[in-house]
C-alpha cells in the first residue's frame, strides 16, 4: 500500500503541490491527469525521492515513511522497489551506452551482478526488442524502441511500485497503442501511478483517476465514472478540451489560465459557478457518491430541473411526465419531431404556459412566478429572429430594451453594455450598424442581434428553440460556434430545442429524445448516439443528416464529429 498524506512540495517557498492525499493499493493503477504545470511530474518525482524542492508530509510505503529515509536508503529503493518509466524525450537515455548495458546497470547497481546481462537481454526481449536492437545505441533507435527500453529498465528488478511519467507522449498513434498494450501488462498486480495529460492513456491503463489542479487534487474516482460523468467543473472542462477524433461535441476549452497560490478554491478564477465562499475558503476533498470532490458546491450544480411536468391543451396531453436536469455550463438538447411537444417544453420553462402538474426548479428554487429576476437568469432565442425582433426598433434599441425593462444602469452604462454584447456576438458596434432596422439585416445578423439581446442581461440559462433552422448551413455553423464560445466563457447553460439530431449531437453534452410528449430516452449525448436504446431514437438516427456511413469512422467531416469522446476513450 502506498499512501500519500498531506504532501506539500515547494520550490523557493512557493508550493507546487499543496496538501495531496492519495493512496494506491496493490493491483491499483491510478492516473494523475491535469494541465501541464499542475504538479503532476513533481508528484511522481517526490515519491521516488528525486524532487529538488522542499518536501513535507508523509509518503508511506508499507511500514516506511519514504520522506524520513536517508539518501542512501532511498537510493537502494529506487529502481528496486520503486521503478520509474520516463517519457521518451530526446535525451532520456545515455547516448554513450548500449541499450543492453543500460538495462544491465539497473540490476548491477543493486548488487544483482550474476547473470545480469543475460537477464537484461531477456527483459528487452520481453518488451519487444530483439538481440540486434539490444546492442544498439540510443541514437540508432526509434522513439517507440527507446520507450520500450525505458520500460525494460524500470521493470528490471520487478518493483512493487511503478511510476509512469507521460509514457505515451511523443509517440505516433500506432506505436502508442503497442506501448499501451505493453504497459497494461507491466502495471498488472503492481501499485502504479500514471502521470499523463492524455486522457486516453489514463483510460486504458488505470482503474482510478485523480484530477490535479494547481497542486491540489480536485476530483478522484473510478475511471469509467469520472470520464463519463465528470462532477468537478475542472474535470468536465479538461475532458471537454481533450482532442479526440471521436468527439461528438465540438472542442471547448476552459476560460483563463491556471495559477498557483490562489486563495480559496484554486479553480475559482476560472469557475463559472463560483459563489462567495469559493474565493475565501479552500474546499476540502470530500467523499460524494463514490467519488472524492473538492468543491464547495459539491461539484457541478443543476441549474434547471423539470420534475414530472404535465401540460394538456383541451384534454390533449402535450407533455406528459417530463423530468429533465440541466447542469451549470452544459447544453441539454431536446430532440423531437414537430408535434412532439418540444416547443411547448421550452415555453413552459420560460413561462408562456403553466404546467398542469409537476415542478420547475431553477438554481435549486421552485419557480412560481416569472418576475424580472427570472428573466435576468433565463432568456430565450427563437427560430425566426426577424419575427421575434420588432421591426420598428433599430439594433441599438433592440439590444438595449431588456436593460430598460430591468432598469439597469445609466444611459452610458447601457450603451456600453449594448456595445459589449454586440462585440460578444461578433457584430460591429458602429453608429451605422446600431441604426439599422431588422429588415436591413441578413438572417445571420438578425439572429446574432437576437442573441446579443438575450445575452445583454448575462443570463445563466439560454433557451434556444431551433435557433438555426432558418439559416443556411455556413451561417448555422457560425452561430453554433458562437453559442459554444459563450458557454465556455460564461458557463452559460443552454437548453437546445431541435428536430435535427445531427445538430444536437454537435452542440450538446446531454441529449433527451421527446416523442409524443414523453421523454423516451435521455443520457450523455455520446451514449445516446452510439447506443440508442429506444426504437424511436434509432429511427431518428437513421433519418438524421450526416450520420450515415461515416458514423463510426470519425475522420470524414471535421465539423461533424463522431461518437462520444468518453466512450471512445473508454473503449480505446
Amino acid at each position: 500500500m502506498l499512501e500519500i498524506k498531506d504532501l506539500v512540495v515547494s520550490f523557493n517557498r512557493s508550493p507546487v503541490l499543496n496538501g495531496i492525499d492519495l493512496s494506491i493499493s496493490p493491483g491499483d493503477s491510478l492516473a494523475i491527469i491535469g494541465e501541464s504545470g499542475a504538479g503532476k511530474s513533481t508528484l511522481g518525482l517526490s515519491i521516488i525521492g528525486l524532487v529538488e524542492g522542499e518536501v513535507k508530509g508523509r509518503i508511506q510505503l508499507g511500514q516506511r515513511d519514504l520522506l524520513t529515509l536517508s539518501e542512501d536508503e532511498m537510493r537502494s529503493l529506487r529502481g528496486k522497489e520503486i521503478g520509474m518509466v520516463f517519457q521518451n524525450v530526446e535525451d532520456a537515455l545515455n547516448p554513450l551506452q548500449e541499450i543492453s548495458d543500460q538495462v544491465t546497470e539497473a540490476m548491477t547497481v543493486h548488487g544483482f551482478k550474476a547473470d545480469a546481462s543475460n537477464r537484461s537481454l531477456r527483459l528487452l526481449e520481453a518488451v519487444g526488442l530483439d538481440r540486434e536492437t539490444a546492442d544498439k545505441f540510443p541514437h540508432q533507435m526509434s522513439g517507440g524502441e527507446k520507450q520500450r527500453a525505458l520500460i525494460a529498465m524500470a521493470l528490471a528488478n520487478d518493483p512493487q511500485v511503478l511510476i509512469l511519467d507521460e509514457p505515451t507522449a511523443s509517440l505516433d498513434a500506432l506505436t502508442k497503442s503497442d506501448i499501451l498494450d505493453l504497459l497494461r501488462s507491466a502495471v498488472a498486480g503492481k501499485m502504479a501511478l500514471v502521470i499523463t495529460h492524455d486522457i486516453a492513456t489514463a483510460a486504458k491503463l488505470c482503474n482510478k483517476i485523480a484530477v490535479l489542479y494547481a497542486g491540489k487534487v480536485v476530483e478522484t474516482g473510478r475511471t469509467e465514472d469520472l470520464l463519463s460523468s465528470p462532477r468537478h467543473p475542472y474535470t468536465r472542462g479538461l475532458i471537454r478540451s481533450y482532442p479526440n477524433m471521436t468527439t461528438t461535441k465540438d472542442l471547448q476549452g476552459i476560460p483563463g489560465r491556471m495559477a498557483h497560490g490562489v486563495a480559496g478554491c484554486p479553480f475559482h478564477r476560472r469557475c463559472t459557478q463560483k459563489i462567495e465562499i469559493c474565493t475565501q475558503q479552500e474546499p476540502k476533498l470530500l467523499p460524494q457518491k463514490g467519488r472524492m470532490i473538492a468543491c464547495h458546491r459539491g461539484g457541478i450544480v443543476p441549474l434547471l430541473e423539470l420534475d414530472g411536468v404535465n401540460i394538456s391543451f383541451e384534454a390533449r396531453r402535450v407533455l406528459s411526465d417530463v423530468s429533465l436536469t440541466l447542469y451549470e455550463g452544459e447544453t441539454l438538447a431536446v430532440v423531437g419531431e414537430s408535434g412532439s411537444g418540444k416547443t411547448t417544453l421550452a415555453r413552459a420553462v420560460i413561462g408562456l404556459y403553466q404546467p398542469d402538474s409537476g415542478g420547475i426548479t431553477l438554481e435549486e428554487k421552485a419557480v412560481t412566478k416569472r418576475d424580472l429576476d427570472f428573466y435576468k437568469t433565463v432568456q430565450m432565442i427563437y427560430q425566426n429572429p426577424k419575427e421575434s425582433l420588432s421591426h420598428r426598433m433599430n439594433v441599438f434599441s433592440l439590444v438595449k430594451e431588456p436593460l430598460d425593462v430591468q432598469r439597469l444602469g445609466s444611459a452610458e452604462e447601457k450603451a456600453l453594455r449594448v456595445k459589449r454584447a454586440l462585440g460578444e456576438v461578433e457584430l460591429p458596434a458602429d453608429d451605422d450598424f446600431l441604426g439599422r432596422y431588422p429588415h436591413q439585416l441578413s438572417g445571420g445578423e438578425a439572429q446574432r442581434v437576437a442573441i446579443a439581446r438575450a445575452m445583454v442581461l448575462e443570463p445563466k440559462l439560454l433557451i434556444a428553440d431551433e435557433p438555426t433552422s432558418a439559416l443556411d448551413a455556413s451561417v448555422q455553423a457560425k452561430i453554433l460556434r458562437l453559442l459554444m464560445d459563450l458557454q465556455e466563457k460564461r458557463g452559460l447553460s443552454i437548453l437546445f430545442i431541435t428536430h435535427d439530431l445531427a445538430l444536437a449531437r454537435k452542440v450538446s453534452d446531454r441529449l433527451a429524445v421527446l416523442h409524443r410528449g414523453k421523454i423516451v430516452e435521455e443520457g450523455p449525448t455520446s451514449a445516446v448516439i452510439s447506443y440508442p436504446r429506444h426504437e424511436y431514437t434509432r429511427v431518428l438516427l437513421e433519418h438524421a443528416s450526416n450520420l450515415g456511413d461515416d458514423r463510426n469512422s470519425g475522420w470524414s467531416d471535421e465539423n461533424v464529429l463522431q461518437i462520444d469522446r468518453r466512450d471512445a476513450i473508454l473503449s480505446a
Binding site: L50, S76, M84, F86, L93, N94, F137, M153
Partner: protein, 327 residues
C-alpha cells in the same frame, strides 16, 4: 547502414590538406621576386656561397629546368626526408630538427596529457558541486591563471622558483657535462622539465577545466541523468560514468581545435627556459636567417598539428557512438 565503417571522407580531407601544405611550401619561394635560390636560402647564405655550391644547388633543385621537373625533384627530396641543408648548423635540416624534436614532444606532450587529465578531473568535481565553495574557488583561481599569456607565466615561474628560491635550474634540458646515466639522468631531465612543464600546464588548465565544468553542469540537467538516478545509481556512478563521460566529448573536440595554440605555447615556453626543443631551434634559426631550417620547422609544425588533429578525430570516434555510427 548502422555498420561501423572507416571514415574515408575524413582521411581524404587530411590527405588533401597535406598535399596543399607541401605544394605551398614548394610554390611560395618560387613565386617570390628574383632568384628562387635567393628566396630559399636568403641573402647571407648567398654571400657565403661559392659558385660551385650554387651550381650544385641549382642542379639539385632542378631550378634551371621546367616546373614539372622542379616539382619531381622537390617531391623525391621530401620522400627521402630531405628538407634541405642548414648552412648555420652545417647539417641536414632533418637531422637538426630530429635532435630537437624529442624534447618538444616530451614537454608539449606531457603538458597536454597532464593538463587534460587534471582539467577534466577538476571540471567534473567542480561541475558536480556547482555553486559550492570548491566550485567557486576553482573558477576564480583558474580563470585568473588562464588570463595570462603563456610566456608570462613561464617568466614568473622562472623568477620565483629559479632565480629567487633557486630550487629549479634556470635553463636547458639537462645539466651539461654531468655524464649522468640511468636513473640519475632521468631525474636530471625531470628536474629541468618541471618549471616549463608547470608553466604550460597552468596556462592550459583553465580552458580545459572551465569547458569540462560547464559541460558537466549542462549534462547534469539532461534527462538521462534522471533516468540513471531513478535506477538507483550511486552518486559517483552518476558523476563519472554518466555525466563525466558525456562531459569529455566537447573537451576532446576543443583540444583538437586548440592544438596550434598549445604548440605555439610550447615553443614560446622553450624560448623562455632555453629548452633545447624545436622552439629554441626556431628562435635561433630566425636569428641566423637560416631559411631552409625555418621552412623545415614550419612544415613540421603544420604536419604535427594535422596529425594530432587526425588523432583527436579518431579518439572522438571511439568515444562517441553517434559519430562512429553516423548515418
Amino acid at each position: 547502414m548502422n555498420a561501423s565503417r572507416p571514415p574515408h571522407g575524413n582521411f581524404i580531407n587530411y590527405l588533401l590538406a597535406l598535399v596543399a601544405i607541401f605544394s605551398l611550401n614548394f610554390i611560395l619561394p618560387r613565386m617570390m621576386p628574383g632568384d628562387p635560390l635567393h628566396a630559399i636560402y636568403g641573402d647571407e647564405a648567398l654571400v657565403a656561397m661559392t659558385p660551385q655550391m650554387e651550381a650544385y644547388l641549382t642542379e639539385k633543385f632542378a631550378l634551371n629546368q621546367p616546373w614539372s621537373s622542379q616539382f619531381t625533384a622537390y617531391a623525391s627530396g621530401l620522400l627521402q626526408g630531405d628538407l634541405g641543408y642548414s648552412y648555420y648548423y652545417k647539417d641536414q635540416v632533418s637531422t637538426v630538427i630530429m635532435g630537437a624534436l624529442p624534447w618538444t614532444l616530451l614537454l608539449a606532450g606531457l603538458a597536454l596529457i597532464i593538463a587534460t587529465i587534471l582539467g577534466t578531473a577538476l571540471g567534473i568535481e567542480s561541475g558536480y558541486r556547482r555553486g559550492r565553495p570548491l566550485d567557486r574557488g576553482l573558477i576564480a583561481s583558474l580563470m585568473f591563471l588562464s588570463g595570462f599569456p603563456d610566456f608570462f607565466v613561464g617568466i614568473l615561474l622562472l623568477l620565483i622558483f629559479g632565480v629567487c628560491l633557486g630550487v629549479a635550474p634556470l635553463s636547458g634540458a639537462t645539466t651539461p657535462y654531468s655524464g649522468a646515466t640511468g636513473l640519475a639522468y632521468a631525474l636530471d631531465v625531470a628536474h629541468h622539465l618541471i618549471l616549463p612543464l608547470s608553466a604550460l600546464v597552468l596556462v592550459q588548465l583553465g580552458g580545459i577545466y572551465l569547458l569540462t565544468r560547464n559541460t558537466m553542469v549542462s549534462v547534469l540537467k539532461e534527462r538521462f541523468i534522471m533516468t540513471a538516478r531513478a535506477k538507483g545509481c550511486s552518486d559517483s556512478r552518476i558523476r563519472y560514468e554518466h555525466a563525466g563521460r558525456n562531459s569529455l566529448l566537447p573537451v576532446v573536440t576543443a583540444t583538437g581545435m586548440r592544438l596550434p595554440q598549445i604548440i605555439t605555447g610550447a615553443l614560446f615556453i622553450e624560448i623562455v627556459f632555453s629548452y633545447p626543443g624545436v622552439g629554441s631551434l626556431l628562435s635561433s634559426s630566425l636569428d641566423a636567417r637560416d631559411y631552409p631550417l625555418i621552412q623545415g620547422i614550419l612544415l613540421l609544425v603544420t604536419v604535427a598539428v594535422l596529425t594530432a588533429n587526425l588523432g583527436v578525430d579518431l579518439l572522438y570516434r571511439r568515444l562517441d557512438p553517434r559519430v562512429r555510427y553516423a548515418h
